[in-house]
Amino acid sequence: MSGGVVLQAIVAGLSIGAVFGLVGLGFTLVWSLTRVLAFAHGDIVVGGVLLAVLAVIGTTPVALSPDVLHSIALVVLTLLFGVALSTLSYVVAVRPFLGRGRRPDDLLGWVAGGVTTGLVIRTALAVALPAAAYAVPDPLHLDDIGGGGVVHLPGGGVVATRVFPVLAIALLVALVVDRLLVGSTLGRAMRSVAEDPDAATLCGVAIERVVLIAFAIAGLLAAVAALLVGPAGPLSVDRGGVLGLDGAAAALLGRLGSSRQAVAGGLVIGVAQQLVAVSPHLGAAWSELLPLAVLLAVLAARPGGLLAPREVFAE
């Protein structure tokens, strides 16, 4: 592999990795507050943007660049649908299975609830959008930035122009959410619920509201991820299944529950995936399996995330 190809893989990988990071950030946020693994999170990503496309453009999306009005409508609706799907998934498929102390007590129940939510979103979309994959118009017009659509890197590599704004937007959004979690009153409330819901209640935290807001933020992050990744190539309804697992892998590469490490994990996986894709021995097929393999390996080694401390046998 030449240096140019490696550089191209790293740049492209950082961009897609940042998107994985946003998905992983939502995944880790949901886990912190409810100790539930968000099985439907990937489908919420895809569901949000495709529902918006359905609403704004209809059942035969075309890759034409949308005008200002349509662009705004697409962005707003994607964010809205992301938030709606995520909070709805909490109300319908998570809350019924939370037991004492707002921790899940019916394992088979919430696992089944999560996968069901994902499947419902996938199939509902598939009924409306029966083709194998769709070209999602780009409401953010990221390809228009800089004119040519591609950037020539030193060493001969070529990447799409959009990878730079994608990376920038994803990291900016992640940074804002991180600041929110660390600095604000809401963030403190969230961390208190993550630590101990009972104690948080005693301190006057309105848990129900805080958890709902957390799911809304996870949905918002999912929608942003969708706006960034959707227009990059043909998007299939089924993409959500794997995208959710990519995000889970990102979240588990650090310590599950840490937002910064989730984003970092996403970047690592994105770069690794692109490096595998350009490697002459492995190639694209292997690169698609990589995040899943990482997920399984990490879970086998440390179920709480690779950087999590070894658990003391809980009583």
């Binding site: 100790r35 539930v36 693994l37 099985f39 899940p104 019916d106 394992l107 088979l108 129940g109 696992v111 089944a112 609830g113 996968v115 069901t116 499947l119 419902v120 996938r122 199939t123 598939a126 009924v127 029966p130 299944g241 794997v242 697992l245 889970a248 097929a285 698609e288 399996l289 899943l292 393999a293 997920l295 399984l296 879970l299 086998a300 080694a301 440390r302 179920p303 709480g304 658990e311 003391v312 046998f313 809980a314 009583e315």
Partner: protein
Amino acid sequence: MTTFAADLYLLVAAYGLAVAVSYAGLPVLGQGAFVAIGAFGTVQITAHGVPLGVAVVAAVALATVAGYLVGFAATRLAGAPLALATWGLAWLAYSALVLFPALGGGAEGLTRDAPAHLVSPALGLRLTLTPGVHVGIALVIDVLAAIALARTARGAWGLDLAALRTGPVLADSIGVPVQRRRRAVLATSAALGALGGAGTAVLLGVVAAPDYSPLLSLQLFVAVLVGGVATWWGPPIGVAILAFLPDTADALARAINVDALRARSVLTAVLLVAVLVVRQPLHRLLTRSSTGRTRAAAVAASVESDRGPDGATVLELRKVVASYGALRVLDGVDIEVRSGEIHALVGPNGSGKSTVLRIATGVVRPVDGEVRIDGLPAPAARAAAPRVKAGVARTLQHTVMLGELEAGTQVEVASRAKDRMPHGGVRELLATPRGRAGRTDRRARAVAALHAVGMDDRADAMTSRLDSAEQRLLQIARAAATGARALLLDEPAAGMSADQRDRLGRILRHLADRGFAVMLVEHDMRLVGRVADRVTVLAEGRVLATGTPDYVRSQPAVALAYLGSSAAT
């Protein structure tokens, strides 16, 4: 006929998954991956000229190993992470089949001759596997699986699985080898999944990736959820519902003009939702109807530890040092617990009492010092089950019950630990005379343990009908039933009234008189003063005093630790 045979093979895979999901309570979302290993494995291996029978065995073996490995990883993967890992596995297997045409045959899939022929020159056998023959084969496997599960449910393995389902920590504390059972469950589950897959592949003569997508895993999962907890008849009902799915899906596909596979996933989603809605009410209904069952085991009820009260040291901690990270919790603690003796361990909060229990039961390893049981070094594994077999059992501070089981059965689970018969589970499955005798013996021990805590008449009571004092006593009965000579009781009197405490005191004395070595971790000093033969006072990880209650009470250091410096002066 072909469809029916295929459904029967699907039922084999569902039975496999039922072992993991509805019997052991493990959330496995990747049964489709194991089915795929069986199906694609068989076709791939026969394509290399290997005889069909050998290929099926090899593919099933491959899946079994894969299942065992998942179980091995599941050592640390309790609960939710296991669901995620198996879900990831389902997607990994499917993606690999799609992405690598050499493996999955691309969009067309792989084909082989159908009907297949089973040829064995050695036996002079040449059997054409028509769909009818397949129905026969699949039916035999299904019936065997159903019988095995029905037998297992009330047998030795079933008790272990019930404990696994409720909670690994509790299961471990009453001597169930949690990790070994989990690996066995996942390997069995995978093997049956692969068997079903292999059968289908041979029957149809074609395997294509889209039929082995994660949707298959979800369908099997919902088929198993339908029947609720631990029922042999659940999977057939679930698969019967699934069997109607393709036809209904085709009709739906025509009606709303979508792809037939899509229509199937719509129906699967609807099914999952329906099952989720009815699951808990159905479960409550079923468990309520089973409470009336009575247990036929009137046996001379006396629980005795193996050798009677001989004053021998059963459990001994020597110069034990323990720390959590940088925090030193125990600093050279010596404790001896003797047969026939009630030994109270007291001390202020944070003095290290719970850590002594954890060290004694093996779930925490000492940094230094040693633990001896009956004069021998204690098993080194970081789990309680081996210690239970060696002779040390404990109760947990929180009353944890084996959810949906009657009191008598809960104690029976614990008395499994004392089953010394090799391959007892297999014997009971085959209902051999020794297997039956073993079961009768185990039930007798359970009844005896219940008698020892004065709960003979509560054997059929469900957990929800026991008051908190009875739940505490049941925990003691469980610990006693394991056959361990040293019983470590963590605050057994918590939440008990004065009368109940008196009764508890009498029960503890009764147990000690029978030869048990009782260690009592307790805050109630009146109870300790009344029943304990010996008291050890811990403070800040060190032993302050050991001796009779009167001696210990007279020690100024004890008053200092308990009441602060002002009381001592």
